[in-house]
Symmetry: C2
Amino acid sequence: MKNQAITQVIKSWEGQNQAIDVIFGKFDENHYLNEVAPGRNRGIYLLGHLTAISDLMLPIMGLGNQLYPAMEAQFVTNPDAADLPAPSIGVLKERWETINQTLAGHFALMEEADWLSRHTKVSEEDFLKDPSRNKLNVLIIRTGHINYHRGQLAFLIRRV
Amino acid sequence: MKNQAITQVIKSWEGQNQAIDVIFGKFDENHYLNEVAPGRNRGIYLLGHLTAISDLMLPIMGLGNQLYPAMEAQFVTNPDAADLPAPSIGVLKERWETINQTLAGHFALMEEADWLSRHTKVSEEDFLKDPSRNKLNVLIIRTGHINYHRGQLAFLIRRV
C-alpha cells in the first residue's frame, strides 16, 4: 500500500498543474503577452518559468535529464524581457504538458523509500544531518512555487 | 515515530508562515496600506485574509473555535475596501502569530491517524468515498493558499 500522505502531496501537485492549465486555456494566446501587473512578468514568461522549473525536477530527483535544457537560461537564469526570443504560448503549453506527464509517469512508479531518499543537490553527508532534504521535499517546494506564481497569474484573468 | 511525509508537510506550512513574517517585517506599517498592484488587494487586507483563513483551520480540523470570528466577515466573506474599519497591521501581526502558535501546538500532539481522519466539513459517508478529505489535506491546501498570496505580496517588496 502507498503512503497516503505522499499520495496526497502528489495529488496536490497535479491539482496545481491543472489550475495552471485552466488559466492558460481561458483566453487566446495574445492575452498572455500582457504583464500580470504593470512592470511585472508577462504571462508567457511565467508559463516558461514554471515549465523550466518543472523540467529541472527531472535531474534534481535523479529521474533523467531536462527535456528542454535551453529553457533554463531563458526562463530561470534571466529575467523577463519582451525582446527575448521565446517559444509561443502554444509551444510552451505543449512542453508544460509533456514535462508534467513525464514526471507523473515516474511518480507513479516511486515507492515511499524513493520519495524519502536524498535528492541530487544534497550530499550524502548533509542528507544524514537532515533527512528531510529528500525527493518529497522537492515536490512540496515545487508545488508551492506553482501556487506562488498562480497567485500572480490570477491577475491576468480576474478583474478584482 | 512520526510519519516523515506528514512532518515535512507541517514544516512546509511553518516555512510559509515565516516567509509571510519576513514580508511584513520589512517596512513600516504604512507601506502595507498600499495595493499589491493597481486595483488589487492591499497588503493589510491580505494579511487579515491569511490570518482569518488560518483561524478557520481550528474548527475545520476539529481543534476548537475561531479565536477571532469577526475577522471572517471582514477578510473572507467581504472583499477589500479602504473604508472598512480594520485592525492595524500591528494587531493583525499579533493575531497571525497567536493563531499560528495555537495551531502549531495542536499539530505537535497529532499522530498520523489524526491527520488522516476526516475534517469537519465532510460527512462520514463522503469521507468513506474519498479518504483524502482529511485534516492533512486541509493543511496542504492552506499551505498552498499562503504561497498563492505570498506571490502577490512579493510585489510590495520587490521592484521587479
